[in-house]
């Protein structure tokens, strides 16, 4: 091979026209913005540790289950069970991302659902959409049992994403003299909020996801799904470029919930 000279070499046996054709193919490097754009999409599409089943392993939910086991409130058991099922739905999309990463390639699977960088005029589902589709019956079931009255606190005509107050199901709207039913409704509402935040996060609507999570924090002072909310918040911080904050919060999470089913995923964001 040593005796072969590249044709761009003036002393090679290529003529000037051939060299000019080859020179036209130089300088095809990507721009920095292309690199950033792809990275951003890539992070959204990356597999993260599946959080499916988290509710079952969640200490809060577990404690609740124990209480329910000895109590008479069968409906609370139902509520917790539903929390588990809907918890699956909330984080199901995350599990979907793992599937996604194990696909052979987008070209060999025509119905790829990876969030893509640019698709003018091209319709593809996001990972979240695909996962949502897989879990549609579960979600629909949850929605069907959720009162449709939504409390909107948004009245400004022009949208201010960072200051938006998401339309979460009103706790008041679930008011019921029966405590177990109220707990069911609270869990529904909380799950709904986290599901929405998750979808927004997966769709790249970071400001919306943050607003939803913050609204959820205000509304549910004693959350059933605290770990889930924290895990989403940490991921949101990371994807917003606030790596240090994400890492710090992840450390706090891991020291507080070392055995959390989300610990594995949270470690990814703390691993810098």
């Amino acid at each position: 091979m040593n005796h072969l000279k590249p044709w761009l070499d003036e002393t090679s046996d290529a003529d000037e026209f051939e060299r000019s054709i080859l020179r036209a193919g130089l300088g095809v490097d990507p721009t920095q913005s292309t690199q950033e754009q792809i990275w951003s999409s890539l992070v959204s599409a990356l597999p993260v540790a599946p959080l499916v089943g988290l509710a079952a392993a969640s200490p809060a939910i577990g404690a609740k289950s124990a209480a329910v086991g000895v109590g008479k409130a069968g409906t609370v058991l139902l509520a917790v069970a539903k929390g588990f099922v809907v918890g699956l739905a909330v984080y199901g999309a995350t599990a979907g991302m793992s599937e996604l990463a194990h696909r052979p390639s987008s070209s060999s699977v025509p119905t790829v659902a990876v969030p893509r960088v640019t698709h003018p005029g091209r319709a593809t589902a996001t990972g979240a959409e695909r996962s949502t589709a897989n879990l549609a019956p579960v979600i629909e079931d949850a929605r069907a049992k959720t009162p449709t009255t939504l409390q909107s606190t948004t009245s400004t005509p022009t949208r201010q994403p960072l200051k938006r107050e998401p339309e979460l199901p009103s706790v008041a709207s679930f008011a019921d003299p029966e405590q177990p039913s109220r707990q069911t409704s609270l869990l529904d509402a909380e799950t709904h909020a986290l599901r929405r935040a998750h979808d927004e996060l997966r769709s790249g609507m970071l400001a919306d996801a943050r607003a939803t999570l913050e609204a959820s924090q205000r509304r549910f002072a004693a959350p059933e799904l605290l770990q889930e909310r924290e895990a989403l918040m940490i991921e949101l911080l990371y994807r917003s470029g606030r790596m240090t904050e994400a890492a710090q919060r992840a450390q706090v999470f891991l020291s507080r919930f070392p055995d959390s089913p989300h610990a594995q995923q949270v470690r990814l964001f703390a691993g810098r």
């Binding site: 091979m1 590249p6 051939e18 193919g25 990507p30 292309t34 792809i38 990275w39 890539l42 990356l46």
Partner: protein, 191 residues
């Protein structure tokens, strides 16, 4: 690139890896004939695979060989899909757009566009393996040994593929020249 310390690949480590190798992968895909409109998607595909496989990667092996092999696989899949869809990779909106831009561009810009189109046509006539060798050697400026290492094939194979690829390239350019001469004769040199 520091070797990831655990089977789990931390995002920070992966990001460093991505930034270190992105240009190499992107350029490889471009040279392997992925149309510009699909380049970002293809690059994303490559790094999704990298992310999945990196924890198992044997860092005794050259990393560029591994990345290039993934790029080849992605390009090959896309080429096969394009064939199944009866679509030619060079016949896309972006190429047409570039051709239209060339019409309004200045003479130098137009000439560059024409030459790029010629190069693409010649490269499209090659097999993917020939194209890989040709572009690495002629455009990336890699030596024969480097090409052999990147592709993980023996040097004589590289030599053979390069010889065939050059023949294809020359035939393609010669066809173009013949057409040009014919056109000149037909128009009496009025082009």
């Amino acid at each position: 690139m520091t070797r990831p310390g655990s089977p789990e690949l931390a995002l920070g480590q992966f990001e460093r890896f991505y930034r270190e190798h992105f240009v190499f992968a992107w350029r490889a895909l471009r040279r392997l004939g992925i149309p510009e409109r699909d380049l970002n998607d293809a690059a994303q595909d490559v790094f999704l695979i990298v992310h999945r496989k990196l924890p198992e990667f044997d860092f005794e092996r050259p990393i560029t060989t591994w990345i290039y092999a993934i790029c080849l696989r992605v390009a090959s899949d896309r080429r096969r899909s394009a064939v199944q869809r009866h679509e030619r990779l060079d016949e896309n909106a972006e190429t047409r757009e570039r051709a239209e831009q060339a019409l309004t561009a200045d003479a130098d810009g137009q000439q560059l566009s024409e030459r790029r189109a010629l190069l693409e046509a010649a490269l499209d006539a090659m097999s993917l393996e020939q194209r890989a060798v040709f572009t690495l050697f002629e455009l990336e400026g890699r030596t024969g040994e480097e090409v052999a290492a990147i592709l993980g094939v023996p040097a004589p194979t590289v030599h053979s593929r390069l010889r065939l690829a050059r023949e294809i390239f020359r035939r393609s350019i010669e066809r173009h020249r013949t057409r040009e001469r014919f056109e000149l004769r037909r128009t009496g040199g009025q082009r």
